[in-house]
């Protein structure tokens, strides 16, 4: 039995994030909270965010789901903590292109660049995107409120 392909998907850094997720938990006074889920598998991610003007000051997550979705949420929070919203948007866009196979990763994505092979596993793209789509929705909401 060959599991070699799997190594491309489940790389060490991803397994680490899944096993020891960062920024997991709630926030004492979040500016906004959003729960999303993937109806196909039942994966759930809740994001909590606190802004400081045009900065995303803090972001944490809770959730339940597969290695991919949980690790991806952990990486998202790593990448986005204390970032200007313009950078947040740039990272969201680049991640989207990365996982759909329409672009490549730059330094901007940090650990999240590990998803550069996931477009070969089309059924798992949704898992990788779950948390990122949630943050995108939260940002859109914030913009709508301004």
């Amino acid at each position: 039995m060959s599991l070699s392909n799997l190594n491309q998907l489940y790389r060490q850094v991803l397994l680490d994030h899944a096993r020891y997720p960062r920024h997991q938990g709630t926030l004492p006074a979040p500016d906004a909270t959003l729960t999303v889920h993937n109806p196909t598998c039942g994966d759930t991610i809740s994001l909590n965010v606190a802004y400081d003007g045009d900065r995303l000051k803090q972001i944490t997550f809770t959730g339940d789901g597969c290695t991919i979705s949980q690790a991806s949420a952990s990486m998202l929070c790593d990448q986005m903590t204390d970032q200007p919203l313009t950078t947040v948007q740039a990272k969201l866009d680049q991640f989207d292109q990365l996982v759909t196979g329409t672009g490549t990763a730059t330094d901007l994505l940090g650990d999240a660049a590990v998803f550069n092979e996931i477009h070969q596993f089309p059924t798992r793209i949704k898992c990788a995107l779950l948390a990122w789509k949630a943050l995108e929705q939260l940002i859109t909401q914030k913009e709508a409120q301004q």
């Binding site: 039995m1 060959s2 489940y10 598998c41 039942g42 789901g65 597969c66 596993f121």
Partner: protein, 401 residues
């Protein structure tokens, strides 16, 4: 066991021999069924019930012959009790709206089980909402069987419908339909059976069951997609109104009014899936040729082999401990590994299984999980495939350890 009627079984998948363990989602389709569909398009290719010319008569005759064949297949009294639908979901919705709206009233009760597929749950939720009726969901025992005393306690003269699956698509549990129907009829309730997961595995005898309505899909019994069967007892069909209007279901139309044909044509609005019905006929022929006895002999072996394959540390199998209570369907989880990750790992080893709630969210929740992995087999699977599946699970556990 006729494996070469299924050319896909000799393919490789991700560089491994392909193992198809997702027959509960849709069964593989043998060559004779595919050929029947092709032959319809090549040699007949006309609409039914509408033409005077030779080929149209031939199409109509064949279409109606498959209706008779289907009636014989499930031991229905008359061909007129067989309505062709687009699938199980369509059939169950037709009953819930066409019969339910006329016969279930405010305060009446509808009984279903926790084992139902969404297609045999949500139409009844919606009926209950429309009619202000009460929906009662009967739970299951620790080993995945219907909680019989809860079921009995739920029945009363308020009960108008009992809707139940013949086989759970998650646990493989077979419900005692004959006994359920007798209890339901004792309080004058109608019995609606979801036979989607039954028909590929054991013979259906609607008269032995004494069910009022039965729905199933061709694509789960080696037939084509887009076609299914709704059986209804003649008396029940007389209590049912059409839910779709147009085409050949009509008797007479004026600008403002219309009258409708009796069953079955009155319930088949529009051009039906004619090629699909040809394919369904071929699937019934194919099943007859294999024989349910041979199917059950093979599936018994597979059930045992699957149970053995899953007998590993950190593997939880849901439902009964008895392999023969699974009807070829095993849902399970590996401790600490998400079902999606398991399914991806198995896929990379050539094994196609499903992960998720299998359109049975309330049941999945009752099992205390968000999702499970499901391996489901057909008579075309082999003992060797079950063994290789066991090894693939082992390798998966190691990979994620």
């Amino acid at each position: 066991m006729k494996r070469n009627d299924f050319p896909i079984l000799t393919e490789t998948m991700n560089d491994e021999p392909f193992i198809y363990f997702d027959s509960a989602a849709t069964s593989l389709t043998p060559e004779p069924v595919v050929n029947a569909i092709r032959d319809y398009y090549r040699n007949v290719n006309t609409n039914v019930h509408r033409g005077v010319y030779t080929l149209a008569a031939q199409a109509t005759e064949h279409y109606e012959a498959v209706r008779q064949q289907t009636a014989d297949f499930i031991h229905a009294d008359k061909a007129n009790e067989i309505i062709f639908t687009s699938g199980t979901t369509a059939g169950l919705n037709q009953v819930a709206r066409g019969w339910g709206d006329l016969n279930v009233h405010a305060g009446d009760e509808i009984v279903v089980t926790l084992m139902e597929h969404h297609s045999n749950l949500v139409p009844w939720q919606q009926l209950a909402q429309r009619q202000h009726a009460v929906l009662k969901v009967i739970g299951i025992t620790a080993d995945g069987q219907l909680d019989w005393s809860a079921f009995q306690a739920a029945l009363s003269h308020q009960t108008k419908v009992v809707a139940v699956t013949a086989v759970s698509n998650v646990l493989g549990t077979r419900n005692p339909i004959t006994k359920i129907a007798a209890a339901a009829h004792a309080v004058n309730a109608a019995v609606v059976v979801d036979a989607a997961q039954a028909v590929a595995h054991f013979p259906i005898d609607v008269q032995a069951w004494n069910a009022d309505f039965i729905a199933f899909s061709a694509h789960k019994m080696f037939g084509p997609t887009g076609v299914g069967v709704l059986y209804g007892k003649t008396e029940r069909l007389q209590e049912m109104a059409p839910t779709q209007f147009g085409g050949e279901m009509i008797e007479d139309v004026t600008q403002q009014t219309a009258t409708f044909k009796a069953a079955p044509l009155g319930f088949e609005a529009g051009t039906p899936n004619i090629a699909g019905v040809y394919g369904l006929g071929a699937a019934i022929d194919y099943l007859a040729q294999i024989g349910y006895e041979a199917i059950q002999t093979q599936e018994h072996k597979l059930d045992q082999a699957l149970k053995a394959a899953l007998d590993q540390p950190d593997v939880t199998v849901y439902g009964s401990n008895n392999p023969f209570a699974h009807t070829g369907v095993f849902s399970f989880n590996l401790t600490g590994i998400h079902p999606h990750d398991v399914a991806t790992a198995l896929d990379q080893q050539g094994v196609a299984v499903r992960a998720g709630h299998h359109c049975a969210e309330p049941l999945t929740e009752a099992l205390g999980v968000h999702a499970t992995v499901r391996a489901s087999v057909g008579f075309y699977n082999t003992i060797d495939e079950c063994a290789r599946f066991g090894h693939a699970i082992q390798a998966t556990r190691r990979f994620f350890a």
